[in-house]
């Protein structure tokens, strides 16, 4: 599918982007207010992805004032070619009739030009603002160290990778070499955010706490394509409960507690939602968090051994990339638990 470049805005010479943006803002006589809180760069490959991301950025700028850089690469194109466009996305502010506008700079990099991303990013950032880079492809073997230094949040989705362990190892290797302080934001981790919150909340109540101290089995139901999401969830349990890997067969992971008690994690490929259900069983009762059909809510059921039962409905989020990214940016901070969870999940992926 060919990219409809008209949707990307006004074509501009790459060396003239700054001047053209200035003209763009001066054109309306100052009626609109330019707003920017972050630099939001998206790297994707192929026309389809470019089209999707262009639409996404329009939507994204409604809630996040930013300078958006959309980099659409076609690394396998035979000729080296580079094109650029600028665009403004204006929305009426909630406070009144003033238009709040964000600017988008789009690039199409073909052939060898795909390797020019560091310069493209460096030369078009809004100064002093954080840089969020959403990388929607496999990571290259080598990456510019200065680029890594400049990125505050590196967003990726390990679910989309054919070889997630290889990609994650590559990323961790880069980070170690460059000593970059960027925050890794795996949307596959964000995907289970509401589930993890729902599970953790259940143990705030002292009556439910004994279940956590005596878990015997955790059953995770996941849709066929979401096995890595489920494995990251297993990693989360391991990180939070200080569990160690004892054994691993395709759908059964045995982890052990510090006092050498084994917990069985059973992965069940079932349903259409990313993680359809997570059930924690212990001698003191069970906690089950499940999606009700197509609902955006979780149904949470706590059944204690003494016969008491509790039921809650909690937000479940959804699996759309746009929602996941918004969740991610709303969270901020560094994902320390993710790093810990990854230590185990990498071995299982």
């Amino acid at each position: 599918m060919a990219l409809d470049v008209a949707k990307l805005g006004t074509p501009v010479e790459i060396g003239q982007i700054g001047k053209e943006l200035k003209k763009l803002w001066e054109a309306d006589g100052g009626a609109a207010t330019r707003a920017s809180m972050i630099n939001f760069a998206v790297y994707c490959e192929g026309a389809d992805a470019g089209e999707r991301n262009n639409e996404f950025i329009v939507e994204f700028t409604r809630d996040h004032a930013c300078r958006a850089l959309l980099v659409i690469a076609e690394p396998r194109a035979p000729e080296m070619k580079i094109q650029a466009w600028i665009n403004a996305h204006c929305h009426l502010s909630r406070a009144g009739a003033k238009q709040i506008c964000c600017e988008q700079i789009s690039f199409m990099l073909e052939g060898r030009a795909s390797k020019l991303i560091p310069n493209i990013v460096f030369s078009n950032l809004d100064s002093d603002l954080p840089l969020v880079l959403w990388w929607q492809a496999d990571f290259p073997v080598r990456i510019d160290g200065q680029l890594l230094d400049w990125v505050d949040r590196l967003v990726f989705d390990s679910l989309k990778w054919a070889q997630p362990a290889k990609q994650l190892n590559r990323l961790l290797d880069w980070l170690e070499k460059s000593q970059s302080k960027l925050a890794m934001c795996d949307l596959n981790w964000t995907r289970s955010l509401h589930l993890r919150q729902a599970l953790a909340q259940m143990f705030d109540h002292p009556k439910n706490r004994p279940i956590l101290d005596d878990i015997t089995t955790v059953t995770i139901s996941h849709a066929p394509d979401f096995r890595s999401t489920a494995l990251l969830l297993v990693g989360w349990f391991a990180a939070q409960l200080k569990l160690e890997l004892r054994s691993y067969e395709s759908n059964a992971v045995i982890l052990a507690t510090e006092d050498d008690r084994e917990i069985s994690f059973d992965l069940v490929c079932d349903g259409t939602r990313s993680i359809g259900c997570c059930r924690i069983a212990s001698t003191h009762g069970t906690v089950e968090v499940a999606r009700a059909g197509e609902s955006d809510f979780f149904s949470v059921q706590v059944q204690l051994a003494d016969g008491h039962a509790f039921h809650h409905m909690l937000p479940g989020g959804n699996n759309r990339s746009t929602s996941l990214l918004k969740e991610e940016l709303a969270l901020g901070g560094r994902h320390r638990v993710y790093i810990k969870a990854l230590a185990l999940a990498k071995e299982l992926l």
Binding site: L131, Q146, A330
Partner: protein
């Protein structure tokens, strides 16, 4: 007030005349700021007539003038433009120039006022100045004045600058000498003093108690273009740091002057120059990084390495990038490093001064190990002149999440009127006899003294520090990042 005069430009066929000087004079005329009687006389070696030079100037002014070219304005300016053909070393050419200027004085109301603009190589200075003096053109007429504007580079080291100053001093008095540094003519450079001394909130914080460090950056994506031979003999340190960037440092670091007189301000700038900590060869190895651009990409185009540029030595050791950690040894700036970096073929073009304030105490929101970013006040000299202040802000929501935000002021959008070009202001000031925005002899020589110590460590030492390479289109060599990392700092993102 600017007074009518005869502006004589030596180097009338040069690039600066076409791209900057004549468009600046044209724009002054268009804005009604150029005294109507002013004449412009070009002095150069090439054979041209008044008419042919006017035709060339019209064409380039239309391209280079910030306001375009109005036929009506040009028609009023062009009849006052003249061309005088002579070798710079030919004494007779100056005698005929004097005669021609006298005639112009007689025809127009220029009152014998003369402004000589030396837009030539420094090697031509002595010949021109000596011949001007021999023809009596350095003498101010009764009730009028004679002034000389000298373009950079003003020497290549302290010894040559001193020698040049002696040459100038033999022909013109210091108060008649205007050493131009076009950075000082930029609106935002002039605004540094206004920002500091016309606002109540900044000056109390403008010292070592509240400022962590200062970064001054001048970056450009361009390579050396056609200037290979010049650059080979100069390098980034001499070309940019000795003049422009040290001037910006002085304006940032100086004490409040007693008044706004040219010498009061320049006295304070000289004190800063004198306070610059002189570097030993060991200091240079530790606190200065020199780099040279390798092949890379700029604006989507692959570009060649410096050593592959036209008329550049393939084994050149000339620096196209330099980063320095400078200490100003006075009470106000004790232990506050000033980081200066300048480079060609960098990712983005711009000149900025960034004042980075100290962190808030490590309590409440600013947890140890999770420090929020510092407040940064940025003065953008070019392009997009303006000022921004970065601060931390709570994001809307039920949790405390803090992110940096930026308050931004842009000259371009805040004021309807376009800022005049630096040369406009400087030419006007020289016609008014205001030398505030021009460098004084002691400033220039003091700056060279500081720079010479670095050049000597590079070129006269048995173990000179290496010339690091950096890919074109990047933000300079890794070693420059490490220079700041050693003090727990980082170059700001432009």
């Amino acid at each position: 007030m600017p007074q009518p005069c005869n502006v004589v430009i030596f180097g009338a066929s040069g690039d600066l005349t076409f791209r900057k000087l004549i468009p600046a004079l044209y724009n002054l005329a268009a804005d009604g700021d150029l005294p109507p009687a002013t004449n412009i006389v070009g002095f150069a070696r090439r054979e041209k007539t008044d008419e042919s030079w006017r035709a060339e100037l019209k064409e380039t002014t239309a391209k280079c003038s910030r306001s375009g070219l109005s036929q009506e304005v040009w028609d009023s300016v062009a009849p006052r433009i003249f061309y005088h053909c002579s070798e710079f070393g030919n004494a007779a050419g100056y005698v005929s120039l004097a005669k021609r200027l006298d005639e112009l004085d007689a025809k127009t109301a220029t009152r014998g006022n003369r402004l000589f603009y030396l837009s030539v190589s420094p090697s031509d200075f002595e010949g021109i100045l000596t011949n001007l003096a021999a023809a009596g053109l350095n003498q101010s007429p009764v009730g009028g004045w004679t002034r000389v504007i000298v373009e950079k580079p003003f020497g290549t080291d302290l010894a040559s600058a001193h020698e040049l100053n002696e040459v100038v001093a033999r022909c013109f008095r210091e108060k008649e000498t205007y050493r131009i540094d076009h950075y000082l003519g930029k609106e935002t450079a002039q605004n540094i003093m206004v920002l500091r001394f016309a606002n109540g909130i900044f000056e109390p914080l403008w010292n070592h108690k509240y400022i962590d460090h200062v970064q001054i950056t001048a970056s450009e994506p361009l390579g050396v273009e056609q200037r290979g031979p010049y650059y080979e003999s100069s390098g980034a340190l001499r070309d940019m740091v000795q003049n422009h960037l040290l001037q910006l440092l002085c304006l940032t670091a100086m004490e409040p002057p007693t008044d706004l007189g040219a010498d009061s301000i320049r006295d304070e700038k000289v004190k800063v120059v004198r306070s610059l900590r002189q570097m030993t060869p060991e200091d240079v190895a530790k606190n200065v990084v020199r780099g040279q651009y390798a092949a890379g990409a700029i604006a989507g185009k692959e570009v060649k390495a410096y050593r592959d540029e036209d008329r550049v030595s393939p084994t050149s050791q000339t620096e196209t990038y330099v980063a320095l950690k400078v200490q100003v040894d006075n009470w106000r700036w004790a232990d506050v490093p000033f980081y200066i970096r300048v480079g060609k073929r960098l990712a983005k073009g711009g000149t900025e001064i960034a004042i980075q304030f100290k962190q808030a105490p490590s309590v409440l929101f600013n947890k140890p190990g999770e420090l929020l970013g510092p407040n940064v006040l940025v003065i953008r000299i070019q392009p997009d002149e303006g000022i921004s202040l970065r601060m931390q802000c709570k994001m809307p929501g039920n949790t405390i999440r803090i992110e940096p935000v930026k308050m931004d002021f842009h000259y371009g959008t805040s004021f309807g009127k376009a800022s005049p070009e630096a040369y406009e202001r400087l030419l006007l000031d020289s016609m008014s006899g205001d030398a505030t925005l021009f460098a004084r002899r002691d400033e220039v020589e003091g700056a060279w003294k500081f720079i010479d110590a670095i050049e000597d460590a590079w070129h006269k030492s048995d173990t000179p520090p290496p010339v690091c390479t950096y890919p074109s289109g990047s933000w300079g060599p890794q070693e420059a990042d490490e220079l700041l990392e050693r003090s727990g700092h980082a170059w700001r993102r432009m």
